[in-house]
């Protein structure tokens, strides 16, 4: 379960909600999804749903509310000022997540019902959340959240200008004085995937890169653990936003009176970055990042400028085996007979796949052939007409199809959502042929090995 946590949303604490809403409408290039209040907490908020998470601007409403929320926010604003306040980690089952985290030694409050109202539309959303005691996370404020309302209850924040808006969150940066403690929290307690543990000697910096779905939590600290650092709290530093065109985004921001550093090459090859300056980000160090295709190449993932990898990179998923090869024929019986007579490979079972055709399974040791007589009008029938009968597709087994689909999508590859396949109970996803050199490719995860 822990490995399935997502970055549900990021909370930014602000003094003046209306001013911050206007500024973030500019910074993100999107109009708010939601302007609401939490009567129970004594807070008000503005939400922007972007492609892979949502952003919450949170302010005190002035009304009496649950001191556990409003008192905490007030203390934060008084002591630290505006800035990133908390990360909300999404879970499909908060009860089991809380139990698991407690078993991992994390102090978590009991899940509580939450409720928000959009003050403009009257729309309502409900959730259950559970706060984590910050002392268990080196001072980083986290809470778990399970939404009870469907995702569409929070509409996507409409972009104001094509290609010049923030499409997605790329990463969030946490500064840590105690990197080993941070690693224990994120790896051992939260179970997040450590994608990279890298030291940059020329900058005297070590960075841990954790992945929550397609968002990276970047934890940055000194390259060597110092005695002074141990026990000091971690803090949020800033957020990096993915844009399609950094040039157009910077131009739009300049026109809106928001200053940026202008595009420059990022540390990772194949990226362009720009820093957003001035008060518009309300205490959040803000970076815009554009990934060009070469940033997804293996070389770009390697250490740059003398950096050292401290641990082997963990891939999001592993392709474990060739599962089967789909071969089309207009006459299943005739072709199956030929396979048996010519190559001594025989059919062990036949079945119908709705919308595809009749399939004869021919085991061949480590994989099998799925000899398929397509149903008229199906996509596979069209493919047979187009390319001729014969090899049609291959299916590759992966150890984690959800991670595989996310990883491919991060790299800009079209792939369908995983859906249940047939016997025994695999889940499958189809990868767009445009990415695979024309090979219809099915990813498959068997639930039983």
């Amino acid at each position: 379960m822990a490995g399935n946590l997502t970055l549900d949303h990021v909370v930014i604490a602000v003094y003046d909600l209306d001013a911050a809403t206007a500024d973030y409408t500019n910074v993100l290039g999107r109009t708010p999804s939601w302007r609401g209040g939490h009567p129970k907490y004594g807070t008000r908020n503005t939400l922007f749903r972007i492609d892979n998470t949502y952003v919450e601007l949170l302010a005190l409403s002035g009304a009496q509310g649950d001191k556990r929320w409003s008192g905490e926010l007030q203390r934060f604003l008084e002591q630290r000022g505006e800035g990133v306040y908390a990360l909300a980690l999404g879970t499909p089952d908060i009860r089991s997540t809380v139990n698991e985290m407690r078993e991992n030694g994390l102090e978590v409050m009991d899940p509580a019902d939450g409720h928000g109202i959009d003050l403009d539309t009257g729309a309502e959303r409900a959730w259950r959340n559970a706060m984590v005691a910050p002392k268990g996370t080196n001072g980083i404020r986290l809470f778990f959240i399970q939404h009870l309302a469907p995702p569409e209850a929070l509409p996507v924040a409409e972009p104001v200008d094509e290609a010049a808006y923030v499409r997605r969150m790329d990463h969030a940066v946490v500064l840590s004085a105690d990197m080993e403690a941070a690693r224990r929290v994120w790896s051992d307690v939260l179970g997040a995937r450590l994608a990279l543990d890298r030291t940059f000697p020329d900058r005297n910096t070590r960075i841990l890169f954790y992945r929550l779905a397609d968002i990276t939590i970047e934890i940055s600290g000194g390259s060597a653990q110092s005695r002074e650092g141990i026990g000091k709290p971690d803090r949020f530093f800033g957020l990096a936003w993915g844009v399609d065109s950094i040039e157009r985004t910077c131009a739009r921001l300049a026109a809106a009176g928001v200053e940026t550093s202008g595009p420059r090459p990022g540390i990772k090859p194949g990226t362009l970055v720009a820093t957003v300056k001035g008060p518009a980000t309300h205490g959040v160090a803000t970076l815009l990042i554009e990934h060009m295709p070469q940033s997804f190449e293996a070389e770009a993932r390697g250490p740059q400028r003398g950096a050292i990898d401290n641990a082997p990179q963990q891939r999001a998923f592993t392709a474990t085996a060739l599962d089967h090869i789909s071969v089309t024929t207009p006459d299943l019986l005739a072709t199956a007979t030929k396979w048996a007579a010519t190559l001594n490979l025989s059919v062990t079972e036949t079945h119908d796949v709705p919308g595809e055709g009749r399939v004869a399974k021919i085991p061949a040791g480590n994989a099998y052939l799925a000899l398929t007589q397509p149903t008229e009008g199906s996509g596979i029938a069209a493919a047979m007409t187009d390319r001729g009968q014969g090899m049609h597709a291959i299916a590759i087994a992966v150890d984690n199809i959800d991670e595989a689909v996310r990883d491919l999508r991060v790299k800009g590859i079209e792939v369908t959502d995983p859906t249940p396949g047939r016997d025994p109970t695999p889940r499958i996803a189809r990868v767009s042929k445009t990415a695979t050199n024309g090979v219809p490719l099915i990813l498959i995860q068997h639930t039983t090995p």
Binding site: V327, K338, A341, A393, A435
Partner: protein
Amino acid sequence: MLTKVHHVGVVVRDIDQAMRFWRDTLGLDIHKLQMIEEQGVKAALLNLGDSEIELLEPVVTDNGIARYLDRKGEGLHHICFQSDDVERDLTALKFKGVEMIDQQTRVGIAGRICFLHPTAMDGALIELCQPLDEYAALHPGAR
């Protein structure tokens, strides 16, 4: 006897570009990358469990791979089965009257190989192979 699917052959326009998906995105390791001058192809074998994906890029314009690319574009090209005795299997195929591209086995990237004619298997192009060390053990003195 055929023992397993040794590899699936994929024809590509540019192997280096194809690596971005098969190696970098899917994470398959390359275990052989070879220019086969006499066949006019550049070939890469990538591990996939106990099978392999073979990427084939034509480097001339007048071989089967180049014509395939012209006619059909990139895509699935052939299935290669591993044999425990490729000579015996080829003899049996010829005895059965199966139409073959190769009348004799030859050395390819996957070992000692031979191709069936695509019409033999209703459009699916089939290759048989036997790793060279196993072949040498069965046929001492052969080259």
